[in-house]
Amino acid sequence: MVKLSVNNMAVEVEDGATILDAATKVGIKIPTLCHMHLDSFNVEHRCASCRICVVEVEGRRNLAPSCSTPVSEGMKVKTNSIRAINARRTILDLILSNHPKDCLTCEKNGCCELQELAGEMGLHQILYKGEMSHTTKDLSSKSIVRDPAKCIMCRRCETACNVMQTVGILSGVGRGFEVTVGTAGARPLVDTECTFCGQCVAACPVGALTEMSYVYNVWTALNDPSKTVIVQTAPAVRVAIGEEFGMEPGTISTGQLVHGLRLLGFNKVFDTNFAADLTIMEETHELVERITKNENLPILTSCCPGWVKFLEHQFPELTYMPSSAKSPQQMFGAIAKSYYAEKIGKKPEDIVVVSVMPCLAKKYEASRPEFSHDGVADVDIVISTRELAGMFKEAGVHIDKLDSQDYDNPLGESTGAAMIFGASGGVLEAALRTAADWVSGKDLESVDFKAVRGLEGVKEATVNVAGIDLKVAVCSGLGNTRKVLEKIKRGEASYHAIEIMACPGGCLNGGGQPYIHGDTSILERRKEAIYKIDKDLPKRKSHQNPDIIKLYDEYLGKPGSHKAHKLLHTEYVKREHF
């Protein structure tokens, strides 16, 4: 332990702690911008580049960045000396002097850390005006917009992309005043190995990285009388969207979400969870088959489009490993434009499928060419949890004030197994529940596989499924995924099945979820909410979903049937890696 004083208050902190930690302990929040600590994932970005957190340390020549300066015994820190205040104000002044001050029309208006800081620090004028840096906006991808003009060089996105996800497409480029974060060779995002996981967007404190918005496309569709507009909501959306309306993190707002969507004018409000149950039917069929035949193991899950693109670029030699089952979003689209279209007597092109996803890669996934037929996409428009919250606000729909309503049928019925898709480990657990019943031929009572739950990056377990020991792993975060896949490639590990999600913690921490601003305790609460919904549902196994049973009876035949394959399965491509 180290003893020091902060603003004359004695404080004791652990060895290796920073001045920032010590100040927090005495109750002082030193402003920070570039510093980011994702506690639950053991990721800390200590770039010490913004210098907004500088403080005065007695006996030290220069001001010290509190986020990175380790404490030492007897250190005397002054966080609010006039020297430190003047420096911090000047630093903020400088950042703002090269920042487009179009806050009122910025995507991040209201959730921008720079905006908040300017408010807190009470800077009322910009003293050092001058030349602005010259940048170009990247609108090339379906998922992410990069506007380097707004970049403040905090480099948090780089840590997200390069360290946490090991995708490595973002780096500081250029020199001096014209420096910004960019891609190698200034390639547009769409021509890079970007997985569109959106963790960079989640990390960006300002409006330099945002999602590509499709809100207006949704409004246009909703106002087109020739279209039947249906919406699907991903499992993780209902445990997070409440945060945008001042509800406590972890509040379950499923019914209010459904009600709100009806108020926006959707013809039918359906659930991605229905399709998640369908995914389990197909994927578990494949899982059981591959394990029985002992071939092509391990089987990897394929629900996450960020992970799939990562695999296609980084491990093209392993593209045989994932299940061929489409993701729930795409299964929903395929069923909506075939089975459901026939049921309601509409042509596929007259149905607009809108997805509300916690994810930015889903926007990209929906645009993959294999998910369109004769120019008609299975999923037409994908918006994020944040975009839907924006639509609600625009329309004056305050879901926190609404009462609950139920999903429409037949694509709205789901089980607890589908619900847990929203948390890391959920897809595997859901598959194990069904596999156990299928292999044993019984309706087993124990459905909980708790060893695969939680926010840890890699979870390994040997689970007994109807008398068979299965070695399974769950990875969330692409950096963790890389480690496991490399072990498999080197022959140092072997598994029967692995669940992989691109975002650490799974979809509840997706790139399209409400911003957590580094507070990972919010994720814990979203996770708890997901498992609570599962626990409280009467049916918790996908194969017991009555509407799924009906779908197979009426339309698909059996899991793995020819028709199921045609509609619900896909292939992967080998992509460029440089």
């Binding site: 580049s49 913004c50 220069n62 960045p65 630093i91 050092y128 001058g130 001096g176």
Partner: protein, 613 residues
């Protein structure tokens, strides 16, 4: 193959006893000498010797830089019988043969140069004219850098032999500590201390790096050392490797130094072939290999953490210390980064002994420092002086003051991170601490001399523009703060400055110093602060009177033709934008709308008929 220390000494003895020709002709063929036309001179001498069949009399040797840029191409003729050494400057292919024809005498018709230095390791100082003491540059201009035997014959690799056979690593570190050697790259951090930190680390793998990313405008001493005496650096690195427990070293050298790279490659190959580098050096069981890494031309990569990232293949930008490289550096291993000149001092320390070394320089900073004299100085070149030498001696005794008899105004030391020193402080003994007290710094040793024709606001802007361009852009104060300083200076130079800018410049400059992440940012406002401290009158003239006293800031000056004009048409013929008109033998006129204020007319007029106001 030298597989024992005894064999090294034996080989040196053999080399010493090899019969010499009567005279040796040394031709300065560093990058600078070659650029000035050294190669044709070398060829002319070669032909003259061959034509006269005098190979048994003259040994012609291409060497590194002799340091006298002002008179390149330079050659030195050493007559071994008498020990007489004659320096010739401005040698041409045409007059070079005179040297050969003069035999043991002095050739006429070629300018002679005086030798302003002595080598403390070999000789006593005999005259006050010997302001220079050459330790680092001892072999530069004296040996053929591409022939290892020439290094050996001057005691090369004996320091390494002494260290490897007679001293423990701790003793080596202690020796360097006792020598008082401080980093010559600019910071002046005690070299021994750095080594001590790294030596203490328990890690098995450690690295030693030579920082040869010389980037200060007007500094070229590292290049001269690497081109003229590469083995000195290799030997020192091997000593350092032994001391801290590293078996691998990197030389991070800028790719813009192709000749230095080539000579280093040759030197490494030759040293490895002789068993003086590589595995089992001189049969002692000690291993040390050296690899070259090329910098892509980023000034900030001279900062040690940025340099390390660059070697790792990452973006060359500094990271916050701690952790210090001595604890966690290259690939996360304990790493020492020392500058070329620092290394080049080390073999000499072990050869001379600490006592002799400490006799040179000051108590707190023993040894010498190489300075590169550039700018408006009359005698441009490299000089090596004992630390503590008065600045005046360097500029006036060695550099001979300003060119064309102009009035000396200031000298910028420490490159773009330094400050300017005015006439008032010329008697200051040059040292790390005295320069800091004057608001400047030692830096890598560039000295850029300014004369009465230099505008100090413009000079501050010039240096700031350099750091602005070379900043990695990582931290806010350096990236944006320096840009805002520059914006203000630009307005002042354009006559758009306001009085409140003085205070804003000063405040912002101090905050940049106080909050920047690395040494580049922390020192970048020095030129602004130092010119403001010493030449406030010039700032005020620009702001209040919209006047540039030195007549440099183009937006603040106009050229007019006065009645002295005789209509000779010279100015009109030389004007690059053809904005001067007039009939022959009548007074000419300048079209102010077209004039680009280049000053060509002013400089070409022979009748003082052009006024600059």
């Amino acid at each position: 193959m030298i597989d024992s220390v005894e064999k090294l000494y034996k080989q040196i003895d053999e080399l010493k006893n090899t019969p010499k020709t009567a005279s040796t002709i040394l031709v300065s063929l560093g990058t600078c000498g070659i650029a000035a036309g050294g190669n044709p001179v070398y060829e002319a001498l070669k032909s003259a010797i061959a034509d006269n069949k005098l190979e048994h009399v003259f040994n012609l040797v291409p060497t590194g830089c002799m340091g006298m840029c002002h008179s390149e191409p330079t050659i030195e003729v050493v007559h071994h019988a008498t020990g007489e050494r004659v320096f010739y400057g401005n040698v041409t292919p045409e007059n070079a043969s005179a040297v050969v024809n003069a035999g043991q005498g002095v050739a006429v018709g070629i300018p002679l140069l005086e030798r302003s230095w002595y080598c403390p390791e070999d000789e006593e100082k005999v005259s006050d004219e010997q302001v220079q003491a050459r330790i680092v540059l001892r072999n530069c201009g004296r040996i053929n850098p591409e022939v290892i035997d020439e290094y050996l014959v001057n005691g090369g690799y004996t320091a390494l032999a002494k260290v490897l056979t007679g001293m423990s690593p701790d003793e080596v570190v202690q020796k360097v500590l006792d020598s008082g050697l401080r980093g010559r790259g600019g910071g002046g951090f005690p070299t021994g201390k750095k080594w001590e930190f790294a030596a203490k680390q328990k890690e098995k793998t450690k690295y030693l790096i030579c920082n040869a990313d010389e980037g200060d405008p007007g500094a070229f001493m590292d290049r001269a050392v690497l081109e003229g005496d590469p083995h000195a650096v290799l030997e020192a690195m091997a000593i350092g490797g032994y001391a801290i427990g590293a078996e691998h070293g990197y030389i991070y050298i800028r790719a813009e130094y192709p000749l230095a790279i080539q000579r280093l490659q040759i030197a490494i190959k030759q040293a490895e072939a002789k068993g003086l580098l590589g595995k089992n050096i001189m049969g002692t069981g000690v291993n040390f290999t050296i690899e070259l890494k090329y910098g892509a031309g980023a000034f900030v990569c001279g900062e040690e953490t940025a340099l390390i990232h660059s070697i790792e293949g990452k973006r060359g930008e500094p990271t916050f210390k701690p952790p210090f490289p001595a604890v966690s550096g290259l690939w996360g291993k304990p790493t020492i980064v020392n500058n070329v000149e620092t290394y080049a001092s080390i073999p000499a320390i072990f050869r001379m002994g600490i006592e002799s070394f400490r006799k040179i320089g000051t108590e707190k900073s023993p040894g010498t420092k190489v300075f590169a004299l550039a700018g408006k100085i009359d005698r441009m070149g490299l000089v090596e002086v004992p630390i503590g030498t008065p600045i005046r001696d360097i500029i006036f005794k060695l550099g001979k003051g300003c060119k064309y008899g102009k009035k000396f105004k200031a000298v910028q030391t420490g490159g773009p991170s330094g400050g300017c020193i005015t006439t008032d402080n010329l008697d200051t003994p040059i040292d790390y601490d005295t320069l800091i007290a004057l608001g400047s710094m030692m830096g890598s040793g560039g000295m850029i001399v300014m004369d009465e024709d230099d505008c100090m606001v413009n000079i501050a802007k010039f240096f700031l523009e350099f750091t602005l361009d070379e900043s990695c852009g990582k931290c806010t104060p350096c990236r944006i703060g320096n840009r805002r300083l520059f914006d203000m200076l630009e307005m002042i130079c354009d006559g758009k400055g306001t009085e409140d800018m003085i205070e804003r410049l000063r405040t912002l400059a101090n905050i940049i110093k106080d909050t920047s992440l690395c040494g580049l940012g922390q020192t970048s406002p020095n030129p602004v602060l130092s010119t403001m401290n010493n030449f406030m009158d010039e700032y005020l003239a620009h702001i209040k009177e919209h006047r540039c006293p030195a007549g440099v800031c183009t937006k603040l000056i106009t050229y007019n033709i006065n009645d002295n004009c005789v209509g000779c048409t010279l100015c009109a013929r030389n004007c690059p934008v053809a904005c001067i008109s007039g009939e022959k033998k009548t007074k000419h006129v300048i079209d102010q709308d077209k004039c680009i204020k280049c000053g060509v007319c002013f400089n070409t007029c022979k009748f003082h008929a052009i006024d600059r106001v």
